[in-house]
Amino acid sequence: MIENYLKLIWAYLKIGLFGFGGGYAMLSLIQREVVDSGWITSQMFTDIVAISQMTPGPIGINSATYIGYVVTGSVLGSLVTTLTVVLPPFILTLIASHYIEHHRQSPFIKGAFMGLRPVVVGLIASAALLLMNSENFGYEIQERVITIGICIASFCVVYFTRVHPILVIILAGITGLLVF
């Protein structure tokens, strides 16, 4: 019981501390901690991302709240996990804002962010790659044809138009309901 809490805290401390580059870039980090450790399946992880997209709030918070509850089965676990993911950045941001002039001039911050930019692209790509599996696209060929079709169509809509991602998810859900 207490072991679950400690593992959650350790996982979400890392996620909070190394979560650079926004929600999508954090996905591969979250995935590594919660899917690879066997807490949830890759399919459940994808579902959490979907739920997170459809509800307000940042994905880092949403995943912590959901996984904290699923792993411990209690509201307390959910609360502890959510607070854990914001604690390290809370402290660091507070310190940085007190040394704002120093911070702005810092060659380390400037250089580090230049180096992080291409890495963030790779982090997001790895999250996409890790989710391209049978759990999300189906095991049978007919199912795969449909899911790959949904994926390509959704990509085109999101990338080439200004349609909101929530609408894309809703349409994909309706498609799923009709064809499966």
Binding site: I51, T55, P58, T65, L94, A96, F113, P118, V119, A128
Partner: protein, 196 residues
């Protein structure tokens, strides 16, 4: 407005932002700016942009980091706690309710929900592929530098123990970027190199 109400104001303003913005950090910035700079006039625009730069350069959740710097600027640490709790609370309560009622078993065992999610999952993957391309463009990735994101993505995907840990590449990227930056400064004649 009475000063002792500012804590409450911070909490309420950020919980409104937290409750009504979909999509996290970047989507939130313009709404936070509207509330903080234009509506409440708590902070001038140039200072807001400075604070935003600090929030962006720190790890974690951008929306929370912004609320921390603004709360701290207005009311110190207590202010930043009020603002951060405001940002977190709405999504925490909403996701908690979903976690209680829409458990993984419900998704699997309810036929209708299960069919809906079968359609949603490939769309979620598409939603993650799209920002790969948009961030690659904004990061100025070219044929020479594309090796970095490709190598990072494949090494993480490889699932090889230790090698596949994303933290390695975040640390390497930061250190590598710093070394590269310092070297380019030195090559320019070292004018700014001894700033820090």
């Amino acid at each position: 407005m009475a000063m002792n109400n500012l804590y409450l104001q911070l909490f309420l303003t950020f919980s409104k932002i937290g409750a009504f913005t979909f999509g996290g950090g970047w989507a939130m910035i313009s709404i936070i700016q509207r509330e903080i700079v234009e509506k409440h006039k708590w902070i001038a625009l140039d200072e807001f942009l400075d604070l935003l730069a600090v929030a962006q350069s720190m790890p974690g959740i951008l929306a929370v980091n912004i609320s921390v710097v603004i709360g701290d600027r207005l009311k110190g640490i207590k202010g930043s706690i009020c603002a951060a709790i405001g940002t977190i609370l709405p999504s925490f309560l909403m996701i908690l309710a979903i976690a209680i009622f829409l458990t993984p078993d419900t998704i699997k065992n309810n036929e209708i929900v299960s069919r809906i999610f079968k359609g949603i999952r490939p769309a979620v993957v598409a939603l993650i592929i799209a920002p790969v391309l948009t961030t690659a463009r904004s990061a100025g990735i070219n044929w020479k530098t594309v090796i970095i994101p490709v190598a990072v993505a494949l090494l993480i995907y490889s699932k090889i123990p230790y090698i596949s840990n994303p933290i390695i590449y975040i640390v390497l990227g930061a250190i590598g970027g710093y070394i590269y930056y310092m070297r380019s400064l030195l090559r320019q004649g070292g004018k700014e190199a001894n700033d820090d």
